[in-house]
Structures are given as structure tokens and as C-alpha cells.
């Protein structure tokens, strides 16, 4: 299980936002959003904050740290 998990897919679906739209607003590639959603890539703190701001939720609602997970 990854150390950092996220709710981006669900939050994005609630806002009917595509991966490309989120990527454009955050300033990353669509492939990076895909990798983050699949928990295969842990974004930098800056990108994590940007994602949370674009989705309009606090950071901890978007990302969750599990100390038992692998990094």
C-alpha cells in the first residue's frame, strides 16, 4: 500500500472535471495526474497544494498519509 493516498479521482468526478482540465489548471501533464490518481507518484508539496486549491478542498481532504505504507 502506498504511503500517500489521495481522493483526487472522486473529488474530480464530483466537479465533473477531466484529468486534462485539472492538469492544465495545476500546470502539470495529464500523465502526471493519472500517475497521482493511481498512487504511483507522490507529488511535491507545491503540486499537492495546487491540486487541493483547484479542487477547492483542504490538503488533508485530498491527500492522506499512511505511515505504514511503502514510499
Amino acid at each position: 500500500m502506498p504511503a500517500i493516498r489521495n481522493q483526487i479521482r472522486e473529488l474530480r468526478a464530483l466537479r465533473e472535471m477531466t484529468q486534462q482540465e485539472l492538469a492544465d489548471r495545476v500546470g502539470v501533464t495529464r500523465q502526471t495526474i493519472i500517475a497521482i490518481e493511481q498512487d504511483k507518484y507522490s507529488p511535491s508539496l507545491e503540486t499537492a497544494f495546487k491540486v487541493a486549491i483547484v479542487l477547492g478542498v483542504p490538503l488533508e481532504q485530498c491527500f492522506e498519509y499512511d505511515s505504514r505504507g511503502k514510499r
Binding site: T29, R30, Q31
Partner: protein
Amino acid sequence: MLTSLSYREKTLYASLAAELVVYGPYFFLHQQNSVNKVAGMIITIIVLQIVLQSIIAALTRNRVTDERDRLIELRGYRAGYLALASLMVIGLGMLWFHATVGHLRLESPRVGLHFLSVFFGMLVLADITKTATQIVVYRKAL
């Protein structure tokens, strides 16, 4: 499939294809190598890269690169450096071995060309390792 690739991935596939097309025949078709051929290949690869990268840049509207691209690039450079360092150690070991057993004749007119081929080959393999590693890491969706 091409549309699902990011701009950086497309450029990497183009680089790898150019490297294999240009360097492949040199190393795998046992032909007579020469300094002119090496120089010709270097010019060819530069021209081919410029053409391919220009085409990709023209056809790709979204040319964003981000932190993940930079991380993958670093991983590629690390793999390339490890490949180059390993090949150098193996090459120097073989040089020492041949010098010890007396196979190496430095007075031979072809020895310089042989060294050129070997060290050029090491650089090419390291570069292909770098590019291939980046493609693999992209495919694993790091």
C-alpha cells in the same frame, strides 16, 4: 496510443528510434569502420534529432513539462551514468588484459580506430540506456 503520450515521451521515442536507426548498422553490421563514418553518424544523428524533435514540437499543442518529467530525466541520467561507468571499467579491464597477454600492438595503424570505435560504442550504449530507462519509467507510470 500516440495521443496518450506526453510531449516528453514522444521526444524520447523519437530519440531512441533515431539512435537505433543511425547507430545500429554501425555496430551490428560488421563493416569497415572509419573516422569519417563516425563523424558522418554524429552529423546524421544531430540532423535527424533536429528534424524529428521539430516535427513532434509542431504536432504537439501541449508541451508542458513538470516535476515528474524532471524526476524521470534524472533517473535516466543516473542509469546512463552507471552504464557508462560500468562499460569504462570493463573496457579498461579488457585493455589491461590484452596489454598483459601481448595481444595489444600499439604500433598497429588500426589501434586508434579500434579505440575510437570502442569508446564511441560505450557512449552510444550509455545514451541508449538513458533514453530506454526514461521510457520504461514513463510506462511504469511513476
